[in-house]
Amino acid sequence: MTDATADNSPAGPLNSSEYARRLKKRHDAEWRFRAYGLGAIFIGLAFLVTLLWTIVSEGAPAFLQSEIRLNVTFDKAEIDPTGTGNIEDIMKADYAVMVRQALREQLANVGNDRAARAAAHRLLSSGADLQAREIVLKDRTAIGQKREIWLIADGDVDSFLKGSISRDTPEDRRRISNQQIAWIEKLQAEGRLKSRFNTTIFTRGASANPEMAGVGVAALGSFMMLVITVLLALPIGVAAAIYLEEFAPKNRFTDLIEVNINNLAAVPSIVFGILGLAVFINFFGLPRSAPVVGGLVLTLMSLPTIIIATRAALKAVPPSIRDAALGLGASKMQAIFHHVLPLAMPGILTGTILALAHALGETAPLLMIGMVAFVVDYPGGPLDPATALPVQIYMWSNLPERGFIARTSAAIMILLGFLLVMNALAIWLRTKFERRW
């Protein structure tokens, strides 16, 4: 016995050199497998970094916007000729004349040549008059006064300042003339033309001018749809899941329902869009482009996911908890609502929020129900025309202007921000409600 261990002779099969060779092979296989896994993770990370880098480098400039500080005289005779503050007069007034006048005064050397004046006026965004009007709408005391305000510069000026339009391009092929460049440099030297943080992109709606376009309206549309989706999909989905999991008899019919729910979760989303178009718009006559229809379609789309997640969460609650409640004489419903559901809550909430995050990023079904619309104003309610964040991104991505290319990426960043917030919320809810048993 001691001899055998001393000279380590191959006494049994576990001491043979053959066995040592096999052992090494096993370890090698394991090492290789780890290397594959690590490689897969690095490839995935590389793609993610590339994606984020592309989006951020494209989109970051869109969060800065060139603006011009001008002293605008709010002409009382034009804005409020009667002196009564009539809202129609205020809305109708020609603010473009006032801001252009202010610009010309600032540039000082424009002259009276029509072409030169038009070139000067193009330095300002065509939405500058709207900004002027908004100031009056917010503060009536401005009427008849001279105020210093920041007005949005034209998209081409913005592109020039951000370096997208090169000075070296011949003038006849450049979107900015030499004279305009001279004015821009003069305004910069006076500290009247600056890149400022872009609030427009968060607050405004669709616009043909990139400098006046924003995702605010689309975000509100998305928010309304999500609210409708939560209000409908969560109770319906959870109730359906509870019934199927806890009350329904296990027979062929319920098996069929289960298979169908699982299949519905895999149905392409555009099919739900066609369904929404046929049922909600053509049959029930709900308006096109309305958040209510979008919310209903997204509800249909999220239901299978929520039902599956809820059933899984209910199944994961140990049966001993059910037994304990039933053994005390709780009715089935009491056992479920007092004990099983609270324990399943983290899973249900996580599943629901992930389904909603998915719904938030959904584009295809919304195209089918007319959410791909040019919506400038905020929707007043769920029946008003609206659009959604991903649809807005889709629409901007079709436009050629430099400013829209940047805004497309910026809007993607905003959408990703929303998704991150929702996922963080899911994790927070899960840890908050998690109980051990």
């Binding site: 008899p249 001993s320 059910r322 304990a324 053994g327 005390l328 004489g329 709780a330 004990h339 048993w437």
Partner: protein, 274 residues
């Protein structure tokens, strides 16, 4: 062990010397058959369970003793494939009758499970849950009284009285099981069913629970399923031996362990199989 045996023997002798039976029948089964789908799990079981006594069900795994226990408060209802036939009576009332509300039945026939299963809530909430759903108490004071009484009844009061609001799942295994017993007696049941209550406990915790069972029998009728024959001998007055879905023999515990009538019982208690 020797001690327990002599004790039960003297008890049995005492019982047989008095002519008129001093016990009442609390629950009874006549011709009880249970099927799980195609499997015939219990075959024509006839048994009487005496009031204020401890009845132990013993037998090898899969013999049907737990199945029969779960018939007594209709916990088998939760299993779809399970079909129960025959007569099962609680105080001469058929518990499988349509007029019986299973919620009320389970309040009268409480249950303690193999694995301690406190709700993941505070100790206090664990106890008051039953009384609350049955509307047995109104107001905080009454509930407080029930909590103290139940925890004292389960011999747990002194250990947890300062931390009633701590989680019930934070207790040790033995304490959790006693908490489950306290939770069961908080509803003031008439019968308590225990399904291998000590199988997950260490010997000291087991001793605690066994003492408790002995005390509880003055107030409640107790049916206990156990794998442990010594435990059956220590805590029970009556023992029923199940084998392959058949109730082989049911008698005073002393008789079962000293003088079984059936060969199979003899074989099991002497450890030849099981």
């Amino acid at each position: 062990m020797e001690m327990a045996r002599t004790m039960t023997e003297t008890k049995a002798v005492g019982a047989s010397s008095t002519e008129a039976p001093k016990f009442k029948i609390k629950m009874s089964g006549r011709g009880v058959n249970v099927h799980y789908g195609a499997k015939h799990a219990l075959k024509t079981v006839d048994i009487d369970i005496r009031e204020n006594q401890v009845t132990a069900f013993i037998g090898p795994s899969g013999c049907g003793k737990s199945t029969f226990l779960r018939c007594l408060n209709r916990m088998n209802d939760t299993i779809d494939a399970c079909k129960v036939s025959g007569d099962l009576k609680l105080d001469k009332q058929d518990i499988y009758d349509k007029s019986i509300d299973v919620v009320q039945l389970r309040a009268r026939v409480g249950m303690v499970f193999q694995k301690a299963n406190p709700f993941p809530k505070s100790i206090y909430e664990n106890i008051v849950y039953g009384p609350k759903i049955h509307g047995l108490a109104t107001g905080k004071q009454e509930l407080d009284e029930i909590v103290e009484k139940s925890l004292r009844g389960a011999g747990l009061w002194n250990e947890v009285k300062d931390r009633l609001l701590d989680s019930g799942t934070g207790l040790s295994g033995g304490q959790q099981q006693r908490l489950c017993i306290a939770r069961a007696i908080a509803v003031s049941p008439e019968v308590i069913l225990m399904d291998e209550p000590c199988s997950a406990l260490d010997p000291i915790a087991t001793a605690h629970v066994e003492e408790l069972i002995d005390e509880l029998k003055s107030k409640y009728t107790i049916v206990i399923v156990t794998h442990n024959m010594q435990q059956a001998a220590r805590v029970s007055q009556r023992t029923a031996f199940f084998h392959l879905g058949v109730l082989v023999e049911e008698d005073d515990t002393a008789n079962i362990f000293t003088n079984p009538r059936d060969e199979r019982t003899q074989g099991y208690i002497t450890g030849r199989y099981g």
